[in-house]
């Protein structure tokens, strides 16, 4: 998946920050905007950018939507533009992953109807974070220093395959802590609609192909664990 570039529509402030973040993580990305001045600005800032009229379906197809593009970001400053882009893209490619950004709760709802998979509201998020900071300052402090920001501890998902060593094993029989120094947070069943199964929840679960483990650990420990699972490296996505 890392080979196919991500398409970021609309070179806004938010887009700049996201593009930088994605770049440091090594994702290939292309910024698309209908305003050529903003395209130029993006190129000046060191991103690859193309001029593209998102209102034309042909232009979207040409950019690869419905073909090799897996994921797009709708980052225009106006919610109406983002909704239009989401609807157009969803119509062209039902399987496409669409992430949209909005600053209003009203637009969140509209984007969801339009077919966005994930909607991020920066103000709601930061507001929650502040509330969390007031309630549990220690937790936020720890997460800021570990999971977020410096990436010394990684959170990763690993998909169970037929050939995997853990296939058909019961959750209660796996002790990742003792064997690999990892924390198994939980499992998401093969059917993505299933609720998240918390690893110490009491109910036991037999792992089947398609299940996804959510684990937390140091990068080297995670690598060791993956080697142990004998999985081809391109099956595993890490950040």
């Amino acid at each position: 998946m890392k080979d196919n570039p991500l398409l970021l529509f609309g070179y806004s402030d938010a887009c700049f920050h996201i593009a930088e973040q994605l770049k440091t993580k090594g994702w290939p990305l292309v910024i698309a905007d209908n305003d050529l001045i903003r395209v130029e600005q993006a190129q000046k800032d060191g991103f690859s950018a193309i001029g593209l009229d998102y209102t034309q379906d042909e232009a979207l197809c040409e950019a690869g939507i419905g073909q090799h593009v897996d994921c797009i970001f709708c980052l225009f400053e106006h919610d109406s533009e983002n909704v239009f882009l989401t609807i157009s893209a969803r119509a062209l490619a039902p399987e496409l992953k669409i992430v949209a950004i909005t600053e209003s709760q009203e637009a969140e709802h509209k984007l969801r109807i339009a077919g966005a998979d994930h909607i991020i509201n920066p103000y709601t998020m930061s507001g929650r974070r502040i509330a969390e900071l007031m309630r549990k300052p220690e937790v936020v402090d720890v997460l800021d220093h570990t999971l977020y920001g410096r990436y010394e501890i990684n959170m990763t998902q690993i998909e169970i395959t037929e050939a995997c060593a853990l296939n058909q094993k019961c959750l209660s029989n796996i002790d990742l802590k003792k064997d690999f120094d990892l924390i198994l947070l939980g499992i998401v069943g093969a059917e993505r609609e299933d609720p998240f199964i918390f690893s110490v929840q009491g109910t036991d679960h037999r792992l089947t192909p398609g299940d996804t483990l959510v684990i937390i650990g140091m990068p080297n420990a995670i690598e060791l664990f993956k080697d142990h699972l004998n999985m081809p490296p391109n099956h595993v996505r890490t950040s």
Binding site: D13, A14, H17, I18, E20, Q21, L22, K25, W27, C71, K97, V99, E103, S104, H118, I120, P122, Y123, T124, M125, S126, G127, R128, R129, I130, A131, E132, L133, M134, K136, P137, E138, V139, D141, V142, L143, H145, T146, G149, I153, M155, Q157, D181, I183, L184, L185, G186, V188, R192, F196, F198, V200, Q201, G202, T212, V214, I216, M218, R237, S239
Partner: protein
């Protein structure tokens, strides 16, 4: 030294040093006069009720002579309370022995002879100041109606109602508003008197000589002029001559003018004052809070924070420069003030140093946020400050200004977005845990000194049984520095996924994942002492 001086001074110093005396006085002050005391409401309310009940009985007595023993006893009781209250306030007003001691010490310092008479004069002067203060005159007059033989004294029963001034802030504020418009009311009074007197004189000149006229005396003329001027117009006295009617016409027209003038004065006085009153009431509300959260800037982020906090019953005070958003916040029932949060005077008024627990600087302008952070930090070293940085460059400045935590919406969003692309499943899981939308949460459990877990190795705790996952432990002392996964925090350090032989200490903080009920249960266990 005079022979009288010694015992008097001895008595004064005795009172001055007597703890029980000063303690009693302090208690009486708290109950009766301290505006901040929690006794204020019940005491004022009870006395107000007593006033109203006694006035009610006095009114009844006008037509139905007092015969039931109950009402007689009640009246005696009420008057006793009023007298005691009067005397207590008289006692509280100043302390006589202190005045005498002060005079004596002053004399000793200046090496002049001490004059007891002067000192007592001073004491009397202070007490006299109390007796002549308007409120205490009212108090005194309120006691008088009990003396029945003099009928005129009955009117003083009204003073009992005036006593309510003491007990209600609202009436006081009303009086203050009128007092502030003194100049306008003075002009109005002159204007009014001038018209009434000139109209009365005119009508008296024209009508008084006619035998059939209603106006027989100058008092009649004044009474008529007043009734006409105020547009009341009873019609019991009417002019009969054409001249008199001309005077009436002129008076009616000017009457409208006077009424309009009076109304405008009152309306403007109240509308000016209303905002200030509301402001004051909010400040009073804030002064009653403790450990509140001050939110500077009420925007989209503020909304989310308040929604999140609404469950935890946290006291919140909002400041914003925009009046419209403040109105909105007030309608939602929050204490909100229009003002500039970087104004240290305003923050001092809010008693930030003593009363605030957390300050959130979340305006949309980084310059403001830095300034507010700096102001708040300069007022209090202990308050927890969380600031918002809109630009990456501001983060460092906010920390320098004294923020404990800095939140950057744009960066947070970018982090989350990037995380989502790579691992949507893991992301959704952690996101829902962090946002606390599910009942699955990550939380901190603090161990006390001497807790049952103090000195216990981790393998002795069955986390699986509690359905919890230990994420790590925060320690303040670095005696586990050999631990493999060790992260420095600001004032402590964090050990990720510690091994089984890890030993817990008092004051450690465990970070665990789990269902919130399980966490609450586990926390209860962890809080038990050895």
């Amino acid at each position: 030294m005079n022979i009288v001086h010694v015992p008097v001074l001895k008595a004064c110093y005795f009172l001055h040093n007597a703890k029980i005396y000063s303690r009693t006085k302090k208690t009486v002050y708290t109950i009766l006069a301290d505006p901040e005391s929690r006794w204020r409401k019940p005491v004022d309310g009870g006395l107000s009720l007593l006033v109203i009940a006694s006035v009610f009985l006095l009114i009844r007595e006008v037509k139905q002579p007092l015969n039931s023993t109950f009402s007689q006893h009640f009246e005696t009781f009420a008057v006793t309370v009023f007298i005691v209250e009067y005397l207590l306030r008289f006692w509280l007003h100043s302390s006589a022995h202190n005045t005498i001691i002060k005079q004596y010490e002053k004399a000793a310092q200046l090496n002049t002879p001490f004059r007891l008479r002067r000192a007592i004069q001073e004491v009397l002067k202070e007490k006299w100041r109390y007796i002549t203060s308007p409120l205490s005159i009212i108090d005194l007059l309120a006691i008088l109606p009990t003396y029945r033989p003099i009928r005129l004294l009955r009117i003083f029963m009204l003073f009992r109602l005036f006593k309510l001034f003491r007990y209600t802030r609202g009436i006081n504020q009303f009086a203050n508003i009128l007092a502030e418009k003194r100049f306008e009311l003075y002009i109005l009074g002159i204007f009014f008197t001038f018209i009434v007197v000139s109209a009365a004189t005119a009508i008296y000149l024209f009508e008084a000589q006619r035998p059939s006229s209603d106006i027989q005396s100058y008092f009649d003329a004044i009474y008529w002029a007043l009734i006409t001027l105020t547009t009341v117009g009873y019609g019991d006295i009417v002019p009969h001559s054409p001249e008199g009617r001309v005077v009436t016409i002129a008076l009616i027209v000017s009457g409208i003018g006077v009424i309009a003038f009076a109304t405008s004065i009152f309306v403007s006085a109240f509308s000016e004052k209303m905002q200030r009153l509301q402001h004051e009431r909010i400040f009073q509300g804030i002064s009653r809070l403790s450990d509140y959260t001050l939110i500077c800037g009420y925007g989209r982020m503020g909304h989310t924070i308040l929604e999140e906090l609404s469950t935890s019953r946290q006291d919140v005070v909002i400041i914003d420069t925009d009046n419209t958003v403040i109105e909105e916040a007030r309608q939602r029932g929050y204490l909100a003030i229009t003002g500039d949060a970087s104004n240290s005077h305003l923050l001092e008024q809010l008693n930030l140093a003593q009363k605030a627990k957390t300050v959130l600087c979340i305006t949309e302008n980084d310059i403001n946020n830095v300034y507010i952070t700096l102001t708040a930090r300069s007022l209090s070293q202990d308050v927890h400050i969380i600031s918002r940085a809109n630009e990456t460059a501001s983060i460092k400045k906010l920390y320098l200004a004294g923020a404990d935590h800095v939140v950057t919406p744009n960066q947070d969003m970018a982090l989350v977005a990037a995380e989502y692309v790579g691992q949507p499943v893991a992301f959704e899981a952690i996101y829902s845990i962090l946002s606390g939308q599910d009942e699955l949460v990550i939380d901190a459990i603090k161990l006390f000194e001497n807790s049952v877990f103090d000195g216990v190795e981790l393998n002795a705790i069955d986390f699986k049984h509690h359905q919890l996952i230990l994420f790590g432990v925060i320690q303040t002392e670095a005696d586990n520095a050999d631990e493999q996964y060790y992260f420095e925090l600001t004032r402590s350090h964090f050990i990720f996924n510690p091994h089984d032989r890890f030993t817990l200490r008092g004051n450690d903080v465990m970070i665990v994942f789990g269902h919130q009920d399980n966490i609450a249960h586990f926390r209860k266990q962890a809080r038990r002492l050895k």
